[in-house]
Amino acid sequence: MEVLRVSKSIEYTYFPGCTIPFRLPHFELTMREVLNRLNVELVTDEGHTCCPEPTTFPGVDIEAWFTIGARNIAVSEASSRDTVALCSGCFHTLSVVKHTLKTDSDIRERVNKRLKNAGMQATGEVTVKNILHVLHEDVGLDQIAKKITHPLKGLSIASHYGCHLVRPIEATYMDDAENPQWMEDLIRVVGAEPVEYKDKMACCGAPIGPSDESKSFKLTAQKLQKISDAGADAIVLICPTCYTQLEMQQRKAIEYLDTELNMPVLYLGEMLALAMGLTDLVVSNSRRYHRVKIEPLLEKIGVGE
């Protein structure tokens, strides 16, 4: 006898942050559509503020960073859902603050005294996830594979994890601090070939843009060169700051190289959307948010104009 399965959708509290919703909304758009097909829903909560971002704000006032971060954790803890941040910076702040609240009773007490002034409380008990936890661990590769209608055959794709998504491993609960594999698994699921390249976990360079632009771009250029040398057709990534650095600023970074180079960059949601046949969704936003043309990729997988 066949058992009728009514698949219930999984709901997460969506932590929006600043950059994705307002500067790179195509990240949110494509990922929401992909998640929709996987029966996952993101619910926003008006109570959240900036995480605060982890690259410069802690160096201005570390105690305020913990306090504002704990306030966001308190907002998330008020619902019974797990929280997911699409942005790696937000994810890093929330998971480090959550971890510290749980393991350091001194700061937990200090911060909660302040939160009390707003009638709030944070324990660090909420589960904070990034999109790889949701896709790879909660939904699972098998379920994703079922929704792939347009495999990205013939494409070689290099993953760029970025630092803040993965480290520190005791707070991020990722698979490995030096050689994570979850994105490679997703690249295989969409029918493409993951490309191995030198120094995969090297930083994109963005965090030091505010203090030393030339060093920042030097690192970006090195990264792009190594990926290009390994024969990749494109980069896939998750972090909006890495995207800004490796994609939006690619022309500027390339000036630090002796050679010419043109490396398309896809957000993870765009890669999955293309493989699920959501071509129009990706293409209609590609001119506005991509400075490096993605048309060569589309041609290669046979969906070009």
């Binding site: 919703p21 006032d61 510290t100 203090s211």
Partner: protein, 175 residues
């Protein structure tokens, strides 16, 4: 201007040890794996995490006044390779915090902090940005509860401190 002389400050060292993960500084035995792993040290030999830790262990506060400290990527490659799991990036952050009042903070870092404290966001959100979300069919996001931020930060005096600071990074490079 950078002060290369040693200015010993036990109070600063004590404060570091009281911060979350600050005590991990005492586990450092100066092996130098952090510097070997650091991508900035690779392109700038004056950036030396092992030496930074040595200074802090010796209660030398001059690090807080060095611009160099702000070229730490916070990528945590040093920490991943550290055999003693010293929380190096978090400790270097404490030196940055210590340099705030004397202006050793990049202008962009101050601008971002001010935006976060006054708007609840790192960027100033414009009407066209809301419109784009609407056109894409994305849920609208209201203004963050900034008044509440003020309430919980009052005791710290963060807003007043950040407002009062002037960055020395304003002018041309290498001043």
């Amino acid at each position: 201007m950078t002060d290369h002389g040693i200015s010993s400050d036990l109070e600063f060292r004590k404060w570091i040890l009281l911060q979350p993960e600050g005590k991990t500084l005492l586990r450092c035995y100066q092996c130098g794996r952090c510097t070997a792993a650091c991508p900035i040290a690779m392109i700038d030999e004056s950036f030396n995490p092992r030496l930074f830790l040595e200074k802090l262990i010796l209660a030398d506060e001059s690090l807080a006044q060095e611009r160099l400290i702000w070229t730490c990527l916070t990528c945590e490659q040093c920490e991943v390779r550290c055999p003693e799991h010293v929380k190096i990036p978090e400790i270097l952050v404490l030196a940055k915090v210590r340099g705030l009042l004397s202006g050793n903070t990049p202008q962009t870092a101050l601008d971002r902090a001010r935006a976060i404290l006054s708007e609840g966001r790192t960027i100033l959100v414009s009407e066209p940005m809301h419109k784009t979300r609407e056109k894409m069919g994305l849920p609208s996001l209201g203004p963050p509860p900034v008044a509440q931020l003020g309430k919980i930060l009052k005791e710290l005096g963060t807003v007043e401190r950040v407002e009062s600071v002037e960055s020395r990074y304003g002018g041309a490079e290498g001043e």
